[in-house]
């Protein structure tokens, strides 16, 4: 399992990345994350929806209600332009952290 703090920190980049592939509604997002992580990132709904709400307030994503064929209401979320910029920045930062950690954990081959 991944620690609570890391889950919280990664929520935003994960959400933005998932939405970068197109419009989705809440249930879909959670399912997608669980699938992708093989169950390691087990998000709770109680966390997801408020975060979506906050990102919308920050102008990174937008939402719209739509009726599905089965007569169910769905709230779809998609990225805004500033959401895309934000994702780029997040990506760069996470890659940096990743590369530092990978180099640290790779046996020292380059030192001689």
């Amino acid at each position: 399992m991944i620690s609570k703090a890391l889950v919280a920190a990664s929520t935003k980049p994960v959400l933005l990345s998932v939405l970068s592939n197109g419009e989705m509604y809440g249930y879909q997002i959670i399912q997608r994350v669980i699938d992708l992580s093989g169950g390691v990132l087990d998000w709770s709904e109680g966390m997801l929806y408020p975060v979506l709400h906050r990102l919308e307030k920050e102008g990174l994503i937008r939402s719209r209600w739509e009726m599905s064929e089965q007569g169910r209401r769905r709230k779809y979320y998609s990225l805004t332009v500033s959401g895309r910029h934000e994702l780029e920045q997040e990506r760069a930062q996470w890659l940096k952290v990743h590369s530092v950690l990978s180099r640290l954990w790779t046996p020292a081959l380059t030192n001689d």
Partner: protein, 874 residues
């Protein structure tokens, strides 16, 4: 049997129970719940279990609500925690109120701005007054010796001290580090360099230790050895530049009258806030030759003595030790000594006659106190205005307060809101005040004779002070309105009743208006007293004729020259008389070594000399009370004396004529008595004078027909050039000299007049606002009264009566305070007007008149209005 829809309805109900979960959120969560349920059932779970699992995953309403609340509030404001969430709303409401009630806002801001501006100007002035003489490096250890003359049981203080004192102190008291004697302020000296003359330059004659005592900064030359040679001179930077431009002044020669002096040093210019002002200094020892100064006497007190004590010496104890020093050397001397700290000289020298060290703009502690009081009063007036108008308007804000309270505002929220308004107004007023100070500073500098700089306000500490002043103003003026408004009861104000500000609120407002008029009445009484006293001293009979007389330093008019010149003067029909005479406006220092017929043992008396010659009486129109004056018919009289009435009284003579008097070592007979005249200003009592026949007249005076003097100046110039071709034409007009005596008083008076005017203006502004408000509140009442038959006069009278009563009460309260303040100021004059009831009556009338003028306009407007409009009002 499991019913999904019923379970979901129950679930939704619990969700809605949390106030943070809005409908939209719950709807979205419900869809999620259904999706999860479907998936679980599809996976083979029992419906009841599937629902329980799905609901568990979404979480409890409390958890969800908290999460949503967190994201909601953080996204909404991003404000610091001390800022009220309603800040924008408060600001908008305040601005809207300003717009709606422009008049009140302007009165408030204008009043506060003028008050703050006055305050700032006065503080600048006070700060400058307090800074005098603190610039010298050893200022804390420098003292001036003050002589008290106890002649005839009286007490007169002089800034001069016996000429032997300085040397004696240095030789016999190890506490004394350095000591110097100074004379300055002599008229008629003449510094020249080739053909160029520097008649405006101010001299100081001082001992060589002068620079050591004060530590003047030498820009050229050597401080220790500047006066090694007695024919040396030290110039200030600006005089050196004037004389020698960019050349090196050291070693150059300057002529003082007929003596060559070598420039041995250049010192930095003396700052304006020093009481010792000079442009050049030469060794005092020369004064013995040039002006017969007595350098070695316990009786001659024309030098001022300044001493520097060693650090740690108790000045007070030292002062007590030297008190009777003079008597130890000259038995029966009427003089005692004391020390005055250098920093006190400027402000604490009232009653000390400072002839040897004349300097302009002598200050006075009482003015510093008075001005501080005025600043405080004016600011208080402005604050009171604000409180008054804000609380009076409170009723119009009552409904707002009621609604705010209903929707949950606490008392503290309201206090914060209304305090905010007072900070806003004070802030705007402060900015306006700084602008006003910028505009007014040139005028104020001209008035006060100072060179104050606005940049001074911008120094960090002063800026902090400025902020503090604004803060205090806002706190004081906002306190009462904020507390009052916040205390309104919701139910009362919303039921359309006027809020029970209660008798208390109204009484408080009355109290404020009354205290405003107490301040202004005190200021008015003081102003009027000052004006009347200054008019009195300038128009009062001085006992001699001071108009139409011109005086010259008599370089060219000496000896035989004078006889010829006098003949020519008298030949002109415009001239009434011409005489060699000291101008009566110059005061000489007294001596205590006279001896006289009937002198009791152990008694000495300080008498003041006045050198006179023929025609003196005619020139000045002084009354001869007994005996005769010096006349050409009695040439032997020139060894004799006349005295004035004060001298006769002091010497204990009933019949002075025929008594002998020894003066300056010469015994003569008193041949006549002159009436007492005011030789100096009315600040000082009339001195006992000995009139002796002057053998070395320095001055000549000419009296002409009334009104002709101005036009005759060119003619006098021609005459001067004929008799004294080498000397620059210099003259003084006696009436102007007399008026100059009171220049410092007028300067202060003028400032007080203006500040009083502003204070009155502020008070009237407040009254105007209050009257406008009162009338507005009574619109309906006035309308009904008119319909019932009340005339315009009656209604105006009704409105004015209340205000008049306040003003009268205020004036009654002001009387004792005003009397004390005016008395304190008048005490500075030996001759003064009576503080009669008339002054108070006039001030009462003026205050009443002003107040009624302010109120009547508003009352008339209401009284003239159509009652129908009034009744439809609201």
């Amino acid at each position: 049997m499991f019913d999904l829809e019923r379970e979901i309805r129950t679930w939704k109900k619990t969700m809605h129970g949390n106030e943070s979960l809005e409908d939209g959120y719950v709807a979205e969560l419900e869809e999620h719940l259904r999706d999860r349920y479907d998936a679980l059932v599809e996976g083979g779970a029992a419906p009841a279990d599937a629902f329980a699992e799905a609901a568990r995953r979404i979480g409890s309403p409390a958890q969800l609500g908290e999460e949503y609340y967190k994201t909601d509030t953080r996204a909404l404001t991003g404000r610091p925690p001390w800022q009220s969430p309603l800040f924008r709303n408060y600001l908008m409401v305040a601005l809207r109120k300003f717009r709606q009630q422009k008049l009140y806002a302007i009165i408030n801001i204008a009043g506060l701005a003028v008050g703050l501006a006055c305050c700032l100007l006065i503080l600048l002035w006070v700060k400058d007054e307090l800074s005098y003489d603190r610039y010298y490096p050893h200022a804390d250890h420098i003292y001036r010796a003050i002589t008290t003359d106890h002649t005839g049981g009286g007490e007169r203080k002089f800034a001069g001290s016996p000429s032997l004192l300085a040397g004696y102190l240095l030789d016999n008291y190890p506490e004394v580090e350095a000591v110097t004697r100074i004379q300055a302020g002599w008229p008629g000296w003449n510094l020249h360099l080739g053909d160029r003359r520097f008649t405006e330059a101010r001299l100081a004659a001082a001992d060589p230790s002068f620079f050591e005592v004060f530590g003047h900064r030498f820009l050229a030359g050597n401080r220790e050895h500047a006066f090694d040679d007695r024919y040396s001179i030290v110039l200030t930077e600006s005089l050196a530049r004037k004389c020698f431009a960019d050349e090196d002044p050291l070693g150059r020669t300057i002529k003082m009258s007929d003596t060559d002096l070598t420039v041995t040093g250049v010192v930095a210019d003396v700052p304006a806030n020093s009481h010792i002002q000079f442009d050049y200094v030469f060794p005092a020892v020369n004064m013995a030759d040039w002006r017969e100064s007595d350098m070695e006497s316990w009786s001659y007190i024309q030098f001022a003595t300044y001493l520097r004590l060693k650090p740690g010496v108790d000045a007070e104890a030292f002062s007590a030790r030297i008190k009777d020093l003079v008597r130890r050397h000259a038995a029966d001397s009427p003089y005692t000594l004391e020390l005055q700290a250098l920093a006190d000289v400027h402000l604490q020298s009232t009653g000390i006659e400072s002839w040897p060290m004349e300097y302009p703009h002598a200050g006075n502690m009482i003015y510093v106190v008075l001005f501080n009081a005025i600043a405080l009063c004016i600011l208080a007036l402005a604050c009171i205005n604000y409180m008054n108008l804000a609380t009076a308007r409170a009723v119009t804000r009552a409904r707002e307060v009621g609604i705010r309270k209903t929707v949950g505002a606490g008392r503290w929220d309201l206090v914060k809101q209304f305090y905010g308004e007072s900070f806003l107004i004070t802030g705007v007023a402060m900015l306006a005040a700084v602008g006003l100070v910028l505009l007014a500073l040139p005028v104020f500098n001209r008035l006060s004779g100072k060179e104050l700089d606005i940049l001074y306000l911008l120094r960090p500490w002063n800026l902090l002070g400025l902020l503090g002043l604004g803060l205090v103003t806002a706190l004081v003026s906002g306190l009462y309105p904020a507390v009052l408004l916040a205390s309104f009861r919701t139910t009362t104000v919303l039921q359309q009743q006027s809020p029970r500000t209660g008798g208390g609120g109204k009484a408080f407002r009355k109290l404020l208006v009354i205290s405003q008029f107490v301040f202004t009445s005190v200021l008015l009484v003081v102003t009027l007293t000052i004006y009347l006293q200054l008019r009195f001293v300038q128009t009062a009979d001085k006992g001699y004729h001071s108009e139409d007389i011109i005086a010259f330093a008599s370089y060219g008019f000496l000896g035989e020259n004078w006889d010829a010149a006098r003949q020519e003067f008298l030949a002109d029909p415009r001239v009434i008389t011409a005489a060699q005479s000291f101008p009566l406006t110059y005061r000489a220092q007294g001596r205590d070594d006279a001896r006289w017929e009937g002198q009791p043992a152990n008694q000495k008396a300080t008498l003041f000399p006045m050198g006179v010659r023929w025609d003196f009486l005619e020139l000045w129109d002084i009354e001869l009370v007994g005996g005769r004056f010096f006349t050409r018919d009695h040439p032997a009289d020139i060894d004799n004396y006349l005295v004035n009435e004060s001298a006769a009284r002091l010497l204990g003579w009933q019949e002075p004529v025929g008594k002998w008097l020894e003066w300056n070592g010469h015994r003569g007979t008193v041949i006549g008595v002159l009436k007492d005249v005011h030789l100096g200003s009315f600040h000082h009592p009339i001195q006992p004078v000995v009139y002796n026949f002057s053998r070395r007249p320095f001055f000549a005076c000419v009296r002409v027909q009334p009104g002709r003097l101005e036009g005759m100046i060119p003619w006098f110039h021609q005459m001067w050039d004929r008799f004294a071709p080498d000397e620059p034409f210099q003259y003084s007009i006696i009436s102007m000299k007399v008026a100059e005596e009171y220049d410092p008083d007028w300067k202060i008076a003028e400032m007080i007049f203006y500040f009083t005017g502003l204070a009155v203006l502020i008070a009237c502004l407040g009254l105007f606002g209050l009257a406008a408000f009162t009338v507005e509140r009574r619109t309906k009442e006035i309308g009904i009264r008119k319909i019932m038959g009340a005339g315009v006069g009656r209604i105006v009278g009704m409105v004015c009566r209340e205000f008049s009563l306040w003003i009268i009460l205020a004036n009654l309260l002001a009387i004792p305070l005003a009397w004390l303040a005016a008395r304190e100021w008048l005490d500075r004059f030996a001759y003064r007007i009576d503080l009669g009831w008339e002054i108070f009556a006039v001030v009462l009338a003026a205050a009443l008149g002003l107040a009624l003028l302010t109120v009547t306009g508003q009352a008339l407007r209401a009284a003239r209005a159509n009652p129908v409009d009034a009744l439809r009002y609201e």
